[in-house]
Symmetry: C2
Subunit: 309 residues, 2 copies
DNA sequence: CCAATTCATCAGTTCAGCTTAAGGGTACCG
DNA sequence: CGGTACCCTTAAGCTGAACTGATGAATTGG
């Protein structure tokens, strides 16, 4: 009988490429992974790994096993979901990774609602960059990862992970009251606050400025959008920020709607097979109602129709 | 993550009914089973077993897990089969349980053929009563069980096990030369050799005699059909025997064809998911050719058309 | 009512699988 | 080309999960 634990290691290897990465992801020493895979090879009697430079490559047979392992793991995930669904009360522990604005705004409301509706469900929230959190779904560090997708910056497709849309979060231009600007083009030489390079909000914001015909003068870089807001409030920079920020901090100046009414899409990533899990569907609906509640509460310019709400 | 090993124990329990039986089947102590299932209950946080007198009953949740476990185990079986199928040569070890006539006649030819065509395949044959061997398929004591089905004695359907027909083996009346009998009715007061009561050949043979209008005078009981044949040869008893016996021992007297040309059906039982395994398909074809070869070789009365060959 | 079954529990033991440490091969870079 | 960094493997030793065996409690059948 094939050992599922070893098969999982093989599957991780096929995703991550090196034994060291698998070990890192699953908190083992590389040696343990090497031994276990050697054992799997021995049990099956089939070569599964072959050296490729200083790395290893999966053989054709190993790929076959990986494919089956995916379906087996999905089946087990569904078993857990079915089991949880058969109970009246939703219980257990849900480990959530949330990006900053979600953690500050969406999540607290959702947690409150769930504490009332599903007292048996425990939540563990951690604020973390979603780009690095999504791969850890399959490593089972988290059950849910909240993510965002900026226009023109599509989320990479990760096998074994399914995405579930939460809604749109409109993106607007936040300008200090002291700035004399009516639209984007007026800010060609203004100081800007943006996210660090390499992030998708940064790529999007830069694209917006370049489309408007200028290269932004970026004076402040931070992943902290509340920091951006305070820079706007104190008159130091303009910034392109999503509406949800204003649920966490007061609107610091003027908000200008951008051409085309762009928005980031908020989504929830879970392991395939787990999306039926009652804890996850409960969390999903709690987030969606949290989002729509926040949207109607916020005193925002109603210059756009939002098809998501 | 649900532990597959523990799930397997739960599955066995749902089939066998008591912890003791599971322990017996899988060569553990009952204590080990109890501990493992308690652990599974603890991990899932869901009650899985409830006391029912001095036994235990599976809860609704446990049944859910069992259903999923069945599909997961089937998937793993298919993984192994796919893996083996991807290799050029058929290798590995095939553990076969065979009933007596099969072990004496069908199997040796098949083994010879396989040794030539698939030198990498090792076989371990054990002669054993198929009725007790089939349940052990799921316990993985055997990979293949050869079985027989007498007319009107249908094989019980075992979940997780699939049956594959090998062919018909005609049943005839073997009468000592010294007996003055032309058909069944002439043997109403003759001494008979039959299989022990409780077996399906016995039930069938008794039905045949009763249909012919008499209760047989059973003087010899044995599962050994070669013994039956020798009783016929030595003039001590008549017996209802399948043709395959004559591949193991000379025809001892006269063979009379029965009305309706009855035959037992020979089949091969394997775990579901394993029927695609190349070692098993190879064994299957070897057995079928072995059977047809034997049939054409035997000097038998050709009074019947055999639709199986 | 006693004997036999069956499951639960506890203490003791064994072995699979982990970590650490050392070694060898490969790529990349000055 | 040597140096360095990275990656995989192997050996040795240790730890904890899981097994055995003994004991006890509950239930059923003769």
């Amino acid at each position: 009988m094939l050992d599922l634990h070893r098969l999982r290691l093989l599957r991780e290897l096929s995703h991550r490429g090196t034994l060291a990465a698998v070990a890192e992801a699953l908190s083992y020493s590389p040696s343990a992974i090497s031994q276990q895979l050697a054992q799997l090879e021995h049990e099956t009697g089939v070569p599964l790994l072959e050296k490729a430079g200083r790395r290893v490559r999966l053989t054709e047979q190993a790929e076959i096993l990986v494919r089956h392992t995916e379906t087996v793991l999905g089946q087990l995930e569904r078993a857990e979901a079915d089991l949880a669904a058969s109970l009246r009360e939703v219980t257990g522990l849900l480990r959530v990774a949330a990006f900053q604005t979600a953690a500050l705004t969406l999540v607290p409301n959702a947690v409150t609602a769930l504490a009332r509706s599903h007292p048996g469900l425990r939540l563990r929230i951690r604020q973390i960059d979603p780009e690095q959190a999504i791969p850890t779904l399959t490593a089972r560090d988290y059950d849910v990862v909240l993510g965002e997708e900026y226009p023109g910056q599509p989320q990479p497709r990760v096998p074994g992970v399914s995405l579930h849309r939460l809604g749109r979060d409109p993106l607007r231009l936040a300008v200090p009251d002291s700035f004399d600007a009516a639209d984007l083009a007026d800010l060609a030489s203004a100081p800007w606050a943006m996210e660090p390079s390499g992030t998708s909000p940064r790529r999007w914001a830069q694209t917006v400025c370049r489309t408007a015909g200028f290269e932004p003068d970026i004076r402040f870089e931070s992943t902290d959008m509340v920091f951006h807001a305070s820079l706007v409030a104190t008159g130091h920079a303009a910034s392109l920020l999503p509406d949800l920020v204003w649920a966490a901090t007061p609107i610091p100046g003027r908000l200008l709607t951008l051409p085309g009414s762009p928005a980031r899409t908020l989504f929830m990533a879970v392991r395939e097979g787990a999306h039926d899990h009652p804890a996850i569907t409960a969390f999903h609906t709690a987030l969606r109602t949290s989002l729509t509640t926040l949207k109607t509460t916020l005193p925002l310019p109603t210059t756009e129709a939002d098809p998501a709400s």
